[in-house]
């Protein structure tokens, strides 16, 4: 047994509750909870496990029977099994159950592991117009092209969808149509649906070995209850969506409740005498698992939550799970009358919940996809798990195992005991505080004085800049210009790009010049003087020049750019360019 062995207390506890009976990581079982059944197939008190194996891809679908740790037999299946159920069909002795395997539109019934009977779902109603059209085609009254057009018009309007034949026909190329029509026109037109889920319902007695009806849900959104002997449909209920999971309790002849999870995220509760669902639970997420525990319904959703609902559809509680749910199953320890829910999670754990209380956690070596709890072999409380990788795990619940409801209040969260990260006071801090207390007035005055000075010098600099047009935005109304500059390159050659723009509404600027002021020991600019073309308002004029850094000492300087009007020495505007340090070596 190679369960991951951490020394956490919870794990140790769960290990003490379960005996590891068998683990085969390469059993090659690809199956679901709904396709595992435990049954006393030979009436000898030795319970076997019947597994509908989905194989790999579209092949190798098998019905396997396990006895103990070994595979006893296997039968080939023709299609993917949707569900496997063991049920007693009749009162005959010995009381050996039959196996029902739902697959596609059929239920295959095996007795003594031999094919015994095949039930086919009743065909659905065919669109009358469609039938008429095909009848005409049968009598060669219409050619395939007309047929196609008519079927298309039916498809777009009809209430009843088209049959598979028509849909397939509509996809064909023109040259294939004739052959297709010839092949199929003699066949009766039919519409078939498939089984999506299956369950069993005791007929008229609550005994363990009572005769059971089969309950099946179909893709057409219907629910059938089948008579176990004649396989006639006893009851037929329409649902507003496709059923995905079923849970059935009660007896057919007395009173029963069927809980159905549907693909639209709703769970419906049906009763014996109601033709329509009696209650409806609307969930905001899809249902992954549905288990009825006594009078409550436990629903696992794809939002990683487990909800408890009353049988009238009222939410009782919600538990958030640490990972997404893979599958759910009921754990019923009959000897003690314990009922709980097993939840297989994606984080390789199986949680056991009684109501909202987590009873125990089982760590598994792989993600569990199939769960089944019940009598296996001669052991009453056996847990069968199949994993995503095809493994088979069998555990036995110890007879001494006690499940105690842990205190639901988790106690104070861990954060409460962590000390707050508050820094200690340092000597420096205390000294500074003392200094401030003693000299608060003086400090304040000095600060205010310096602030005045700072503001004064800032204001002066600003006025000076305005006066001398040192700013990159011209302040005169006659020549509203802006200039910005960019330097490209890593040196010693830089490219200087000046973007000059006339921001006036409709006055072009003329007769402007650009010149530079720079340290001639440090930089060479060529050309260092431009005549600016006529500036059309609103357009951006990029003017480029090259700057060469002559120093290799890694120093940089400011280059000033002046925009001047012809004949005036005061610049209209000035830009200061902080040159980057030349990273390349100056050319010799």
């Amino acid at each position: 047994m190679s369960s991951s062995s951490d020394s956490s207390s919870r794990e140790g506890e769960s290990r003490s509750k379960w005996l590891d009976a068998h683990y085969d990581p390469v059993a090659g079982l690809n199956t679901l909870s709904s396709c595992i059944a435990l049954a006393d197939l030979h009436g000898d008190g030795d319970f076997k496990m019947v597994v509908g194996d989905m194989g790999h891809g579209p092949y190798n679908m098998k019905l396997k029977v396990y006895k103990g740790t070994a595979r006893m037999s296997e039968n080939a299946l023709l299609d993917l099994p949707t569900g496997v159920a063991a049920f007693l069909m009749d009162q005959n002795e010995p009381r050996t159950p039959a196996i029902a395997v739902a697959s596609g539109p059929f239920i295959y019934v095996y007795k003594n592991l031999r094919p015994y009977f095949k039930f086919t779902l009743p065909a659905m109603e065919v669109n009358a117009l469609e039938k008429e059209v095909w009848d005409q085609a049968k009598e060669d009254k219409i050619d395939p092209v007309t047929l196609k057009e008519m079927l298309e018009s039916i498809r777009d309007k009809a209430e009843i969808p088209l049959s598979v034949r028509s849909l397939r026909f509509l996809m064909l190329e023109l040259q294939e149509m004739e052959a297709f029509v010839n092949t199929y026109k003699q066949q009766p037109l039919k519409r078939q649906t498939v089984i999506t889920c299956m369950g069993t319902l005791k007929k008229n007695m609550a005994d363990e070995d009572a005769v059971c009806c089969l309950v099946i849900g179909t893709e057409s959104g219907e629910l059938f209850i089948l008579d176990p002997e004649a396989f006639t449909i006893l009851t037929r209920v329409s649902l507003s969506s496709v059923p995905t999971l079923l849970d059935v309790t009660g007896q057919y002849d007395i009173e029963y409740r069927i809980t159905v999870a549907c693909r639209n995220g709703n769970v419906y509760i049906l009763r014996r005498d109601s033709k329509r669902p009696k209650y409806c639970i609307e969930l905001s997420a899809q249902v992954v698992g549905l288990v009825r525990v006594q009078k409550n319904i436990m629903i696992g959703t794809s939002h990683e939550t487990l909800h408890g609902y009353s049988q009238k559809g009222k939410r009782l509680w919600t538990v958030t799970l640490p990972a997404s749910i893979m599958t759910m199953s009921l754990l019923e320890q009959k000897s003690r009358g314990i009922q709980a829910v097993l939840v297989g999670l994606k984080n390789m754990e199986v949680h056991l919940y009684r109501d909202k209380n987590l009873l125990s956690v089982i760590n598994t070596p792989d993600i569990v996809t199939g769960l089944c709890f019940g009598r296996y072999g001669r052991e009453d409380d056996t847990l069968i798990m199949t994993t995503q990788g095809g493994g088979l795990l069998i555990k036995i619940l110890k007879r001494t195992a006690q499940f105690e409801d842990k205190d639901t209040a988790p106690g104070p969260p861990t954060g409460q005991s962590i000390k707050l990260n508050v820094p200690k006071k340092t000597k420096l801090y205390v000294d500074q505080t003392l200094r401030e207390r003693e000299n608060a007035v003086a400090m304040h005055r000095v600060f205010q004085m310096d602030l005045y000075r700072l503001r004064l010098s800032a204001a002066r600099a600003y006025v000076k800049a305005l006066d001398a047009s040192l700013a990159p935005v011209s302040s005169t109304m006659q020549e509203p210009l802006t200039l910005n500059a960019a330097v490209q390159g890593i040196g010693p050659q830089f490219k200087l790009i000046l973007n000059l723009q006339n921001t006036s509404v409709n006055r072009p600027s003329m007769q402007l010049l650009i010149s530079f002021l720079y340290d001639e020991k440090l930089y060479k600019i060529k050309p260092a003087f431009f005549k600016v073309p006529l500036l059309v308002p609103g357009l951006n004029y990029p003017i480029e020049t090259f700057v060469e850094c002559c120093s290799d000492k890694g120093i940089s300087d400011i280059i000033k750019v002046f925009v001047l009007r012809e004949g005036k020495s005061t610049p209209l505007l000035t830009a200061h360019i902080n040159m980057p340090v030349s990273e390349g070596l100056a050319a010799a």
Partner: protein
């Protein structure tokens, strides 16, 4: 046709081979839907995609459900545009299904095309009249289109069709946006009946009651929220804030420790922790927590206010001045800020600016007598008895107004005011003597004259004692006008609640500080 021959038969070869004996059965389009659905709800998207691919190949792309789930998976993977196209394909395959249209609309919604989404939802609503999901999503779309009335209409409709939390929460948020707090409370309470353990609902309701001043109810809801989720950040902050205002600093701190471990970078949290330490007279710890809060949100004037307050208590008047003036430049309308600034300025010997700051505080404030008291004391100490008297009368007016609403007064403030009244020879005024109610120790006035001997600068505890023991108004004060008195008021701290909209600034006249 009862032969067990439902295997997938490739079209062409199958046709030729079996034409003689029997016609091959066409595979049912929906036969793998249950498996696709199973893998989808288990979030086993890889297997799901494999099955979908296989199924689409077998049916040449007309299996509606396979396309539908593929689109759902694509959307989960963030490929919204691609999923939208697939949903549109589904809508073509089955134009009568409202589910397909709903998903098309959902994808449009996720792409931010709310108007287009509304159109498609309306189309879906024509197919299915009584779907709360359509109504809810329409409501959300209208919310994004800023059409609040239509949004409310749709959400109410959704709630009528099916009562669930989601629509109720959205509806409540809209009502809050419109300022309809009572309506929002009603909506949330109804939603809570459906899911009594929803912590978001519980905290939101708690905060709403807190805003309305119904502390008992607020505490009840917040407590419930914390029972279900002991590390709920919002709940902790709000509950802690209430504990703080009742002086339960240790309990509040233990709650904050939980929040600090889960949300360590929250400015309101550190602000509240800081004020807890302040309440416990651990001023240095308070300052370091408040500075952390300030670092995390530098433009929060409430943190600056608290820092100013703590520095005043630490007698660091120059620092206090900086924090308070920073707070004022971020937030103009708070009288308390101006008053604290004036107190700081008084200690910094800048009487002129202190006066104008008091003036501003007095003009902003309508109810707090503390402002006028402090101002009157300052004026009195400056020898301006007339001005002091004016402020004192204003104080009397406010006190008498407050007494009607049975507010309790701080004993130190009462004491100070009585002494001042005596000094101004209006002491026989009956304002305070009738005051018999046991006052809460929330606001403590502490006066200290710079002329009188300074409290020794010792440990923080000593300082705290010095501050709270109200060393100030000495016996001499009534006799000699040369002694200056002023009250330093410890204003009630401002614990921050998360998303506190009540502390929005009222429009205040732009105040130009004279000491710039």
């Amino acid at each position: 046709m009862a032969e067990e021959q439902q295997e997938v038969v490739p079209q062409e070869s199958g046709l030729r081979k079996s034409r003689v004996q029997k016609v091959p059965e066409l595979p049912i389009l929906e036969r793998r839907n249950w498996l696709i659905h199973l893998h989808y709800v288990r979030k086993d998207y890889e297997s799901c995609k494999a099955v979908i691919k296989e199924q689409l190949q077998a049916t040449q792309g007309v299996c509606e459900y396979a396309v539908y789930v593929q689109a759902l998976i694509l959307r989960l993977e963030g490929k919204i545009q691609e999923s939208l196209e697939l949903f549109q394909t589904c809508a073509v395959l089955n134009p009568t299904s409202s589910d397909n249209l709903k998903q098309v609309a959902r994808s449009l919604f996720l792409l931010g095309k709310h108007k287009a989404a509304v159109e498609v939802y309306n189309e879906a609503a024509r197919l299915n009249q009584k779907d709360w999901e359509i109504c809810h999503n329409l409501g959300v779309c209208y919310l994004f289109l800023k059409d609040l009335s239509k949004s409310k209409e749709q959400l109410t409709l959704a709630l009528q069709l099916h009562r669930q939390d989601l629509s109720a929460i959205t509806l409540g948020k809209i009502q809050l946006q419109e300022g309809d707090i009572d309506g929002a409370i009603q909506t949330f309470t109804q939603a809570l009946q459906l899911s009594p353990e929803n912590t978001e609902l519980l905290t939101t309701l708690g905060l709403l009651y807190l805003q309305n001043g119904l502390f008992q109810k607020a505490f009840e809801y917040l407590g419930n929220a914390l029972t279900y989720d002991p590390s709920n950040y919002k709940g902790i902050l709000a509950a802690g804030c209430m504990m703080q205002s009742h002086g339960d600093y240790d309990v509040a701190l233990s709650k904050y420790r939980v929040a600090a471990s889960s949300v360590p970078e929250s400015s309101p949290l550190w602000n509240n922790i800081g004020m807890c330490f302040y309440g416990k007279k651990k001023y240095v710890a308070a300052i370091s927590c408040l500075k952390r809060a300030l670092y995390l949100s530098p433009f929060d004037w409430r943190v600056l206010y608290n820092l100013g307050l703590v520095h005043l208590s630490m007698q660091q008047y120059a620092s206090a001045f900086h924090f308070l003036s920073a707070a004022i430049s971020l937030h103009h309308g708070n009288a308390g800020l101006y008053m604290l600034l004036a107190v700081a300025l008084t200690y910094l010997d800048d009487i002129e600016n202190a006066k104008s700051s008091y003036q501003q505080a007095a003009s902003l404030d309508q109810t707090d007598p503390l402002v006028n008291l402090n101002f009157a004391v300052l004026l009195y100490n400056q020898g301006d008895k007339k001005g002091a008297l004016g402020q004192y009368q204003e104080l009397e007016r406010k006190v008498s107004a407050l007494r009607e609403t049975s507010t309790e007064f701080d004993p130190e403030m009462v004491d100070m005011a009585q002494k001042l009244g005596a000094a101004l020879q209006v002491g026989e005024s009956l304002v305070w003597t009738r005051q018999t109610k046991d006052p809460k120790g929330k606001q403590r006035g502490a006066g200290k004259g710079p002329g009188a001997e300074q409290a020794p600068l010792g440990s923080n505890q000593a300082l705290g004692r010095a501050m709270s023991s109200a060393a100030g108004y000495s016996k001499a004060s009534g006799l000699s006008s040369g002694i200056t008195i002023s009250t330093v008021s410890k204003h009630p701290s401002l614990p921050l609640e998360p998303e506190d909209p009540s502390l929005t600034s009222s429009t205040a006249p732009d105040y130009r500080r004279g000491h710039s």
